[in-house]
């Protein structure tokens, strides 16, 4: 009868929404490109190529849709090191979240960089995508980015 202080009832409680969203023609082109290991962006009115593509010009709000192939290599513009990856992170070992500006793009895209250690990361470093064996048409088709071979950085001799 008396409440035992040693008892502490707990239970797993999962809240889950298995959403499926339609992507439309512009993002659809990006995801379709991934299935072919191609990276595509959209040309904004000022000439910049935005990757991932957006449906409306960020300045004027006009509908845009001229698709432009970019990359596959790119440059890290900023990054944050993750020493202890969490269960749903893309890599199960320490990695960096980074903004990667793909060659030909005017905006940077968030993705993971597998550089081994924080010492292997540098703003301005060149990276290239590591593709999944069988792309499915989602952002995980890029497993992560990885440093390009040594000496390809524009800033290293």
């Amino acid at each position: 009868m008396a409440e035992t202080t040693s008892t502490r009832l707990t239970a797993a409680h999962v809240l889950e929404y298995p959403y499926r969203r339609s992507v439309g023609p512009v993002l659809g082109a990006f995801f379709t490109g991934l299935t072919e290991r191609r990276l595509v962006g959209v040309r904004a009115r000022d000439g910049r190529v935005l990757v991932p593509p957006v449906e409306y010009d960020p300045e004027s709000g006009e509908a845009i849709g001229e698709m432009v192939e970019v990359g596959p290599g790119g440059v890290v513009t900023t990054w944050a090191w993750v020493e202890k990856p969490r269960p749903k992170h893309p890599l199960d070992r320490p990695f960096a979240w980074a903004l990667v500006r793909l060659d030909g793009a005017g905006s940077a895209m968030l993705h993971a960089v597998d550089a081994g250690s924080a010492a292997g990361m540098r703003t301005g470093m060149r990276v290239r995508p590591r593709w999944k064996a069988e792309p499915e048409g989602n952002i995980h088709d890029i497993v992560c980015f990885e440093p390009e071979a040594r000496g390809t950085d524009p800033e290293t001799p």
Binding site: E3, T7, R8, L9, T10, A11, A12, H13, V14, L15, E16, Y17, P18, Y19, R20, R21, S22, V23, G28, F31, T32, L34, T35, E36, P135, G137, N138
Partner: protein
Amino acid sequence: MSEITSITTPIRLDYTYTAGHATQRFLLGMAEGRILGQRCPECAKVYVPPRGACPKCGVPTTDEVEVTGKGTVTTFCIVRIPSDVLSVPPPFTCAHVLLDGADLPFFALIQECEFDKVRMGMRVEAVWAPKAELAATFESIRYFRPIAEPDAPYESYKEHL
């Protein structure tokens, strides 16, 4: 591969729910086949299941009260959409059951009754899991079923709708 027109973007949050003192008392009661609530020392309302405090008076509810499994249907709804969570095939009826002596209706499944015969004021009782299957869970009460008593008058539960 063909053109991609949609993607899945699942959202999942994994919680560990901790019952806390009051709900824990209630759940441990469930494991014994008992329904335990708490009474507010100020307004005397009885909360089943208890949450440890009276939402009206803002004071801790310290007095434990045991109620029986008999009660009155205050409101109900007929469910016609199947669910992965409930094993009962639709259509079925869920109801708010005001247990005798309690001031907070209890959300429950009604069975052993045609789904469209459930009505406000209907008298029902809890049907418990077999003793060996009683556990610290709401599911120890399998469902409520009608009992041979005249319907409760509207005035007796109108404050609890």
